[in-house]
């Protein structure tokens, strides 16, 4: 346990050293939050709010909270492991007497907590300066959101771990990585809340793992899952996707390990 904590702590510290990049990221995430907010306000003004059941404040909050979730869930991709596979450095990682998946998970959580705090919170605060945002009003609401964010980060980890490992077979998996990111931004709710989709498309989005990374934690933040059972179902679906994708990653890892042995290192 101590080891994983240390790995996570070091990863947190490593990411906290990129100060200019972090400031630039906050700037960009906030700016896109504003642009998306004004577009959604125009949608609400044109009668879109009535059609979806989300009022203007909810739509605006969605714009900022999804910008905040971007970095921590690795929504735009994370390819360090794939790079190590491509260069062969991954062999060093595999020699370590620790589990590779757990190692990357610990490192991911360290990075994720830094990026969520440093890149995620400022855009929402800066959004609140200009707009009225819908915020959790109860302690349970805040706790549920924190759990949901953690689960979103875990789903993001499980997804990217699997995608990164495909580099063992594809060598260059950047195309696949980009494809996953594309599908994620659309179906995860990063471009539009999926409640604005035509209902058949919303069903598709809700049946995919990507909603668990962005759309669901945003809905939890805004209290859209009312009542204990609805909330439990939302968090449960996130947990389910983490376990399912984590298991796929596990299987890919053991297949990759066998492949490395066959090739003789």
């Amino acid at each position: 346990m101590r080891l994983w904590f240390e790995v996570a702590r070091r990863s947190f510290r490593r990411w906290s050293t990129y100060r200019v990049a972090t400031a630039a990221g906050v700037f960009t995430n906030t700016a896109f939050g504003y642009l998306r907010a004004y577009i959604l306000i125009a949608v609400a003004a044109a009668g879109g709010a009535a059609a979806t059941g989300w009022d203007e404040a909810t739509l605006v909050t969605f714009a900022f909270i999804t910008q905040a979730l971007l970095a921590g869930t690795g929504a735009f991709g994370e390819s360090e492991l794939a790079e190590r596979v491509r260069t062969g450095d991954v062999v060093v990682d595999m020699y370590r007497p620790v589990d590779l998946q757990a190692w990357w998970l610990a490192s991911w959580l360290g990075r994720s907590s830094f990026t969520f705090l440093a890149r995620g919170i400022p855009p929402v605060l800066l959004g609140a300066v200009v707009f009225d945002l819908v915020v959790p009003t109860t302690v349970v609401g805040w706790l549920a959101f924190l759990v949901s964010v953690l689960l979103a980060s875990l789903v993001g980890f499980a997804l990217r771990f699997g995608v990164n490992l495909t580099a063992f077979w594809l060598l260059d998996n950047r195309g696949l990585d980009q494809l996953v990111t594309l599908v994620l931004t659309f179906f995860g709710g990063l471009l539009l809340p999926v409640v604005l989709f035509p209902s058949w498309l919303e069903s598709v989005a809700r049946a995919l793992p990507f909603a668990a990374m962005v759309q669901i934690p945003a809905e939890v933040f805004m209290g859209r899952h009312e009542g204990a059972s609805e909330l439990a179902a939302a968090l449960g679906s996130q947990l389910g996707w983490f376990l399912a994708l984590g298991l796929v990653g596990r299987m890919l890892l053991s297949a990759a390990t066998r492949k490395v042995v066959i090739q003789g290192g």
Partner: protein, 270 residues
């Protein structure tokens, strides 16, 4: 003029060599081309989904917003193809390889844009051009001669303005290495925002993204006249004729900023 011809020939040769080398990896090329097309088309999908819920945005109907999307995205796509490579100067500065551009007797901008030229970026222009043609046919336009001329002039000026914005924002790296994302806000963010009628944004956003970086001239200003569209900002019609002038001014400013950046540049000294 003779010198300019030499530069143009050099540029063509360098770009030709880069295209031939990329062409060796055809599958990879095809895949990246496709993904550029899909990324760009996704913005259009978003607009289509929105218009499934609402009849108009800021008083503009689907065909009118689609014209905005087409003009903005085409200018962005062409600017991306010919100029966006300058943003890789950030990587060269960080890696210390920028010095090699300074040593050669060719303009730095020309070298970078030729060296990092990527034909696959033409993928961005495919959905834009297609949408523009369809939207211009679908929109209710009173085709006078000035409106016919306005379309190609707008595309050319818009490309130059986007290119200038790219050069200016990429120059940030000369002063602040690692701040590349700030540049993305104005290039990608600018193109994203200008797919929608400018008046739906708050005044400070309009001022910054529309008039300070003169991106309103890329699509919104000419489109108001072209489409005879709802015009709550009360822009005068003659403004539609000014994009070429704005483009020239923007290019001159970009050149000055880039030169200032080169002068401020300090090598990593490795």
């Amino acid at each position: 003029m003779g010198e300019l011809r030499v530069l143009a020939r050099t540029y063509r040769r360098l770009v030709g060599a880069k295209i031939r080398s990329d062409w060796q990896y055809r599958l990879s090329f095809a895949f990246f081309l496709l993904s550029q097309t899909v990324v760009t088309a996704l913005d259009l999908v978003v607009i289509l989904v929105l218009f499934d819920v609402v009849p108009s945005l800021g008083g503009w109907d689907l065909a009118q917003v689609a014209v905005l999307y087409g003009l903005t995205t085409l200018a962005f796509g062409l600017g991306d193809l010919f100029v966006s490579q300058v943003e890789t100067s950030a990587d060269h500065i960080r890696a210390g390889t920028f010095d090699q551009f300074l040593l050669r007797p060719l303009p730095t901008l020309l070298q970078i844009s030729a060296r990092e030229f990527a034909l696959r970026r033409v993928g961005r222009s495919i959905p834009a051009a297609t949408t523009l043609v369809v939207a211009l046919a679908a929109a209710d336009i009173d085709w006078t001669l000035d409106r016919v001329l306005l379309v190609p002039v707008t595309i050319a000026s818009g490309t130059a303005i986007f290119g200038a914005v790219w050069v200016v924002t990429a120059s940030i790296s000369f002063w602040a290495v690692g701040a590349r994302e700030v540049a993305n806000t104005f290039t990608y963010g600018g193109s994203f925002a200008h797919q929608y009628p400018l008046h739906i944004f708050a005044r400070w956003v309009r001022t910054l993204l529309g008039w300070v970086l003169p991106m309103a001239f890329i699509a919104y200003v000419p489109a108001v006249h072209l489409l005879d569209a709802h015009n709550p900002l009360d822009l005068p019609r003659w403004l539609a004729a000014t994009p070429p002038l704005v483009a020239v001014a923007a290019v001159l400013v970009a050149r000055a900023v880039w030169s200032a950046g080169i002068r401020a540049y300090q090598s990593t000294g490795s």
